[in-house]
Symmetry: C2
Subunit: 353 residues, 2 copies
């Protein structure tokens, strides 16, 4: 099999409503639109910049929610930005967006809210993945060597070695408990699943037809010009409501026989919490991570974000203080993965009021 | 000597710019205007309400800064509210405001930013003080039995006993260190100085003439009708600039021989910090003190203020979180008397920017 793809494309999935960066993240400014990337860029803008090192902006499709289209367009100038009428998870989104690419094209699927700082390594790895996908009808995933037994990531178990840093995928695993995560890391056979995929359109649609034929049928053979975003959205409005909401991992990857993984040479984090973000930021002399109007007094190893007015912790260690016009969060650094409890409490209070 | 005063008046001193409640307190909304009193009233409104249990609103003079006159008027309907052209501390303010009272009247001087919850006890004590001041040419102060060796208060040492709960003042002391405060409390002879005074206008002006003749001369014999606030302010603008800035404690009380003190039967606190305020507030089941949009999650004994948006601490104990559109403060409860360090840091940052 020699797919020998015609052109490269990129699909950035930017429909998330992640609340783990509350109070900074809101429905109208979710995580991917926050300036969490180096240099004060949004994560989406940084993702777009990484993609356009390898392919032209007009070959980038950004799939988001309708009310976020304008915001996403500002972050991705020249890209094809389209809005979903409703969330249907990643499998329908990818199948639909494939219609902006040619039958013989290959494209990379990129989450919009992860952190990758080493752009050169990313570009080199992406080139390699496109090459692998052009040579065989394979679904290429990227795995990252675990930095520790993290229970917040899915893992990829490597199977047969195919080339340097390239293996068949033995299986995908859900987020493990700590004991299992430790075993994974100790074995040396497991990688963190980055959620970045490269494949030919044809190869992907074939695998989807095997896993979820209804979704594949809904978008089979469609083709949209880059400027036809309104027509595309009208098509989505017609076809999305009847489709199953399902991730590409479930619908395709966990069953397909032709999935391979590349050991990524780039750094990666899904930035699942304020703590995860802070670990990647520069620190002041006392280990504090500061953003905006942060005015720590006699503090050590704190994360301080002041968006619009001063955030001033006094005499604290290892705390997170995020003050924005939407609200203020204060917790220990080790507790930032529990922020969902706060968003639920705030929502419950709002619905009482 | 039988002064036998004609009428009662009250002078509320509301010119302070207290910053100890940063970020809630600001130059345009200082401590006395914050809703820190029970029922969400401002401390000034609560002070005015206490005064008008004993005398009519139109016999209350409120002395404040010019830019706070309108705000103070809203809190004290019917009072005579006047603005100083500049701060000159309490001795000149009291001497000037006395011109709204008759030569033979007596008046109470009230700080505007202290907490007293037991209004009935206050009213009874105030009646007694007016009676004492009407009988002899004395300067009446109120002392509160110390609740502990507090180093944030000035103390009054009681001298000769004159009647039940009434003593001559042996001396006034500055804020003591902890060792000295402990001695004061152990001796049983010391009271906290409330800064509340009652005296006849004539008696006060005589004592001021002995202590600071220049200030007494500046306002001697003046008389203003209640409606003559503009004329009064014009007079202040003319005479204040040349006057010494000095407290009534230094200028009068520490030297005068005719100072007596009444053991207050009311509760009292000068609310010098968030911690002092919180000690007087109702608590939830876990000991948290909550104001506004306070959404603590799994917190114990925290003080949480959300003014305009949710303040959400997660998993904390014994902390203070105050979130307002002016800024956010986070510190341990035990550190709230260090808030000045924060206001200085915020100011320094602002002047850099």
């Amino acid at each position: 099999m020699t797919p020998a793809h015609a052109e490269r494309g990129a699909l950035i999935l930017a429909g998330g409503r992640g609340e783990r960066f509350w109070p900074w993240s809101t429905a109208s400014r979710p995580k991917q639109l926050l300036p969490l990337a180096p240099g004060g860029r949004s994560l989406l803008a940084a993702t777009f910049a990484r993609a356009t090192r390898s392919l032209p902006a007009e070959r980038v499709v950004v799939m988001t929610a309708r009310d976020l289209v304008e915001s996403c367009r500002r972050e991705c100038p020249g890209a094809i930005v389209v809005g979903e009428p409703m969330g249907r998870n990643t499998a329908p989104a990818i199948a639909a967006a494939a219609a902006f690419f040619g039958e013989r094209d290959a494209f990379v699927v990129l989450p919009s809210d992860h952190a990758i700082d080493d752009e050169a390594a990313f570009t080199a790895d992406l080139d390699r993945a496109f090459a692998l996908a052009a040579r065989d009808a394979v679904l290429v995933t990227f795995g990252v060597k675990p930095g520790g037994p993290d229970t917040n990531f899915g893992y990829i178990q490597r199977g047969t070695k195919l080339a340097n840093r390239v293996h068949r995928v033995a299986r995908f695993t859900e987020k493990p408990d700590l004991e299992r995560a430790r075993q994974y890391v100790a074995s040396g056979d497991y990688l963190w699943n980055t959620g970045i995929f490269v494949w030919g359109r044809h190869t992907f649609m074939q695998a989807l037809a095997a896993g979820r034929p209804a979704i594949a049928n809904a978008f089979a053979g469609l083709s949209f010009a880059p400027r036809a975003t309104r027509e595309f959205e009208a098509m989505l409005a017609e076809r999305f409501p009847d489709l199953e909401s399902i991730s590409v991992d479930y619908a395709v990857l966990e069953k397909a026989p032709n999935v391979i993984t590349v050991d990524a040479s780039f750094d990666w984090d899904d930035l699942g919490s304020w703590g995860a973000w802070a670990r990647r930021q520069p620190q002041d002399a006392r280990g504090n991570v500061l953003w905006g109007e942060a005015v720590p007094v006699d503090c050590d190893r704190c994360v301080v974000v002041g968006d619009g007015f001063p955030a001033a912790p006094l005499g604290l260690s290892d705390m997170v203080v995020v003050a924005t016009p939407q609200g203020t969060l204060v917790c220990r650094r080790q507790d930032t993965d529990q922020v969902r409890r706060v968003t639920e409490a705030v929502r419950a209070r709002g619905s009482q009021g």
